[in-house]
Assembly symmetry: C2
Homo-oligomer: 359 residues x 2
């Protein structure tokens, strides 16, 4: 297999120190050694989410993580609002319907920003709204919700609202304050800012969220109650992906020692540099309110599909295209983890070559 | 962390060549390179299950895999039989109830063998049995179901019965013939005979099983329909655990080159040697019909809990204890993957020391 620089907004390249951690001999999970290890990992997760509340982890992709959160926090017939302006937020609306929830789908054009007053107006049309699902950084469009403002506005009027956040491409890459912003449940996945293979998700949960969880049954694999209950005892209800947890420990240790503010700033500068350069090249940023985690863009003078092929085959830079209705219309580049400002510059240089046909 | 030889029946030690494969640079999954790779992995899975039918894989633990199979193949109100003689088969009965299935729980004493005529008698008391869940090798007791005979007896009388097999500690370690035995759905997990980190499950499905699957929705993460549908196009519906799939490819390549019959024989000899030696030492084998994948045993002259601690702390050999009601009553040792006859002999030597107080 040819090695290409992965600049897709997940999966991201995995640093060597993570691979080395994954390759450590497996330890058994029903041991005090595992529990001491998992305790440290959970404390790293708390740092990542900026919370003193509850954290736990589970095997699965980011999609699975949000589904588990929705399944565990809401019951059939509960009324929830989904702020939907991209492929992933669309998925949470679809999944809510599948669960038998009464979903109000605040569907907006993909890439468009959503304001708190639009959310509050939507709540007013609902009978007894129980919760809301917000996608902080929408990976399909590169769009951002101003979560601090949004959560504050909601909490101000609805003190008991369950606020669920898809933080899959936000935690560990852009500012996120679980406790301060009074979020109830946030989900992050391993294959984004955590620079690990896909396979693990981590959750943060407020007391309000914890009280909402129902102890259905040990065999209910999607039930966060089980995972949280076991996480309090520093363990897993089922066989944990020990090797993957070793990888996550190495990555979160690294993030902790680098410190979040420094990483947030690095991501911000890389994103800002990239956006400005795209505009200078005559290109456009797709999202109305762009997230710093990734940039979705297009260059009117280039066919997006051909551009993506050229970047990969001629320059060894693998970006993502658009998903669903955005296929062929946008390119997406990550600014997370090892996809730093240098990687962004390599892409800008390649695009310059393509635009000016330097051959 | 101290390195101990892991002889637990999952997780198992991971060979270096698997770690090296996991550490390869991640490739993006929406590419022809990934699809060519995944196609080869699926063909390795076919070899493992001994099938020409359908295979697919999913993130998760073995428990999750069996749950997904039950969720996808049966609908609420379907009548199913669960052959239950250990902790894991008990879990499938519990989960069936949770799904709203009409579960006939053929509950037998843990460790006791179950005969085809018992299963057929149970079917006769049911109205319109749709399916049966069999745990081929019960990891909690070391017990085996004679799957060839059982499946033949069921199929002979019930040609349309959906036969679901928990093959988590059987595929890749003891003889298993999906097509020949006319199984409809079998589940194997990565952290057993496949010598990989926990995190991935693979499924084999018959045409009968495929026709039973309902296309609920893309967002229904537990729906095998989605995974099978995508596997036919050599891809995943969501972000796959690419690094873990690299590891599985390395392990299954290895199994293929060693050949299954050779591995089955090696496992059989290791298990037979271990069982005979335990009996020579005055010990007893727990299961009435023991599986070759692992041995559950106890030695009346030794306290099991103390024995397990001594094995680990003095001899560096980590075995498992009993689960649930068997806690403190049995020890369990793996004969899968790298837990070979040499590892078994190390354990027998240590037990000899413990019994004869050689100090």
């Amino acid at each position: 297999m040819k090695n290409t620089l992965l600049l897709t907004p997940g999966p991201v390249p995995i640093p060597n120190f993570v691979h080395e951690a994954i390759a450590k001999p497996v330890i058994h999970h029903r041991t005090s050694v595992f529990e001491a290890f998992y305790d440290e990992l959970l404390s790293n997760f708390k740092y990542l989410f900026q919370t003193e509340k509850y954290v736990c982890s589970m095997m699965g992709s980011g999609t699975y993580g949000v589904e588990v959160a929705m399944y565990s926090l809401f019951r059939p017939e509960n009324e929830i609002l989904v702020v939907n302006n991209g492929k992933f937020s669309q998925r949470w609306a679809d999944y809510g319907n599948l669960l038998g929830l009464k979903v109000t789908d605040l569907g907006k054009e993909w890439g468009r920003g959503v304001e708190p007053n639009e959310v509050l107006e939507a709540f007013e049309k609902m009978k007894t709204p129980k919760g809301v699902v917000l996608t902080h950084s929408e990976t399909s469009t590169g769009g951002l919700i101003d979560l601090e403002e949004m959560a504050f506005s909601i909490r101000h009027i609805y003190p008991e609202m369950i606020i669920v956040v898809d933080a899959i491409t936000s935690v560990g890459t852009i500012p996120f304050y679980f406790d301060e912003w009074q979020i109830d449940c946030a989900v992050v996945a391993s294959q984004k800012a955590l620079m690990n293979p896909a396979g693990t998700v981590a959750f943060a949960l407020s007391e309000r969220a914890e009280q909402t969880l129902i102890n259905t049954h040990e065999a209910d694999f999607r039930n966060l109650y089980n995972f949280l209950h076991w996480a309090k005892r520093k363990n897993y209800p089922y066989t944990p992906p020990v090797s993957l947890l070793f990888g996550l420990k190495a990555a979160t240790d690294h993030i902790k020692s680098e410190t979040l503010p420094k990483i947030w700033n690095k991501t911000h500068l890389a994103a800002k540099y990239f956006r400005n350069s795209i505009i200078e090249l005559g290109g456009e940023i797709f999202a109305e309110k762009p997230s710093d985690s990734l940039t979705a863009f297009f260059i009117p003078s280039l066919n997006t599909t051909i551009m993506l092929n050229e970047l990969e085959n001629t320059f060894g830079l693998k970006l993502s295209g658009g998903q669903g209705e955005l296929k062929g219309k946008i390119a997406r580049i990550s600014h997370m983890g090892m996809a730093d400002i240098k990687a962004g510059r390599a892409c800008i240089n390649a695009l310059t070559d393509l635009i000016y046909c330097i051959d």
